[in-house]
Subunit: 231 residues, 2 copies
């Protein structure tokens, strides 16, 4: 039996709490980060609060083994005086949507092999994809995730704006969006690239620019250039 | 029974040919665009050649009803002297991958209601999602598709480059990529936006820029600015 204390009441903490509740081998408790004066002991204390609050919250915790769940915070930013680790799940968590943890990659880090085993056992109790990722590698993943998630979503936003402006249903683009995301499971993104930029189809590029507003044009030009330069 | 002549030997023509072969109510023939001197009659002649060749190929065809399959070419660029139309499928077609036509949006256009009905019957014989889209709307879809497909794929490319450079497996990002694509089926891209740009998390943005090369930095900055401006 592993005892887990979850600190935080946000999406990540709550989804994790719900998942651990279903695991017989885990005993889980959840508290708010405002209740740190008298907290229960636990084998693993998981701080799932906003990035900025991790240092302060961890400095107030005296439990034996404290981990955070952030993609962009180093293990050394934990300021507890006991053992440290990271329990980072690389996925977007929405409040109202169930999480299928079997598909979520768990990126684990700790100071000792024993603690890694403990985190691994915990992750395997709810998940399937477990990776050993140190703080440097996690930083890399986090910035890469900004491109494949945040910036990709902004591409969807611009596509949606263009459709709304011209009275075309955005849903027509949904199958293409899904196919684009699926394609790179068996093809590298470099090989999967199609379109006027990689073909250097100047006439189509010019026609497209004429249809866009000035901000969209700026993005279109810079990304076309980047594709053509092989960046 | 509808007779269809497919002109072209590329991915689109060949996938369409294979699909129509399985439909009892359609009789399909495929020829190369080099064999235009003596071509068979057909109820619908589908020109599936490169955008640049559509005008020339169509000018040599005397069949009664000629359509093209391009997202970026106007119906008026067909130069046959008979009836004209468009049979555009908004999807990426790869040579080696089967196409599930039930998920492909068919964007149809014609000069008369009777011809629209004919194209609709043809599309429904292999597909399910049928849209009436005129040439102006199709131009819109095409440029929107560059953002959600070509530019999104370039975001994947950059994410992949960052991972390779730092020795992190890109596959860790796959579930996030899929979730990002699925999320906008029930949430507008504007509402689905997360990350340091929309939170204006200056510290994380600065840390990220330090991890990137100069081209990646340029793209990171312009997209962050665009997200923050609500463009």
């Amino acid at each position: 039996m592993i005892s887990v204390l979850l600190v935080g009441k946000g999406n990540v903490a709550t989804h994790l709490y719900d998942a651990f509740l279903n695991v017989d081998a885990v005993k889980v408790t959840q508290i708010s980060s405002r209740e740190l004066d008298k907290i229960p002991q636990a084998d693993v204390t998981i701080i799932a609060v906003s990035d900025d609050a991790i240092t302060e919250v961890s400095s107030k915790i005296t439990n034996n083994f404290v981990v955070h769940t952030s993609g962009s915070v180093s293990i050394n930013d934990l300021k507890n005086n006991t053992r440290k680790g990271v329990f980072y799940m690389l996925q977007t968590f929405s409040k109202d949507k169930n999480v299928d943890f079997s598909k979520v990659p768990f990126c684990l880090e700790s100071e000792s092999k024993e603690d890694y085993k403990l985190l691994e056992t915990l992750a395997k109790s709810i998940g399937k994809k477990i990776y050993s990722i140190n703080s440097e590698q996690r930083k890399t993943l986090h910035v890469a995730a900004v491109f494949v998630n945040n910036f990709t979503n902004h591409m969807y936003k611009i596509g949606n704006d263009i459709c709304i402006e011209n009275n075309v249903p955005f849903e027509i683009l949904q199958p293409l969006i899904k196919e684009t995301a699926s394609k790179i499971e068996y093809l590298s993104p470099e090989k999967a690239q199609t379109g006027p930029a990689v073909r250097n189809d100047k006439r189509t590029i010019k026609n497209h620019l004429n249809l866009l507003d000035i901000n969209q044009q700026e993005i279109y030009k810079i990304l076309t250039k980047s594709i053509q330069n092989g960046n």
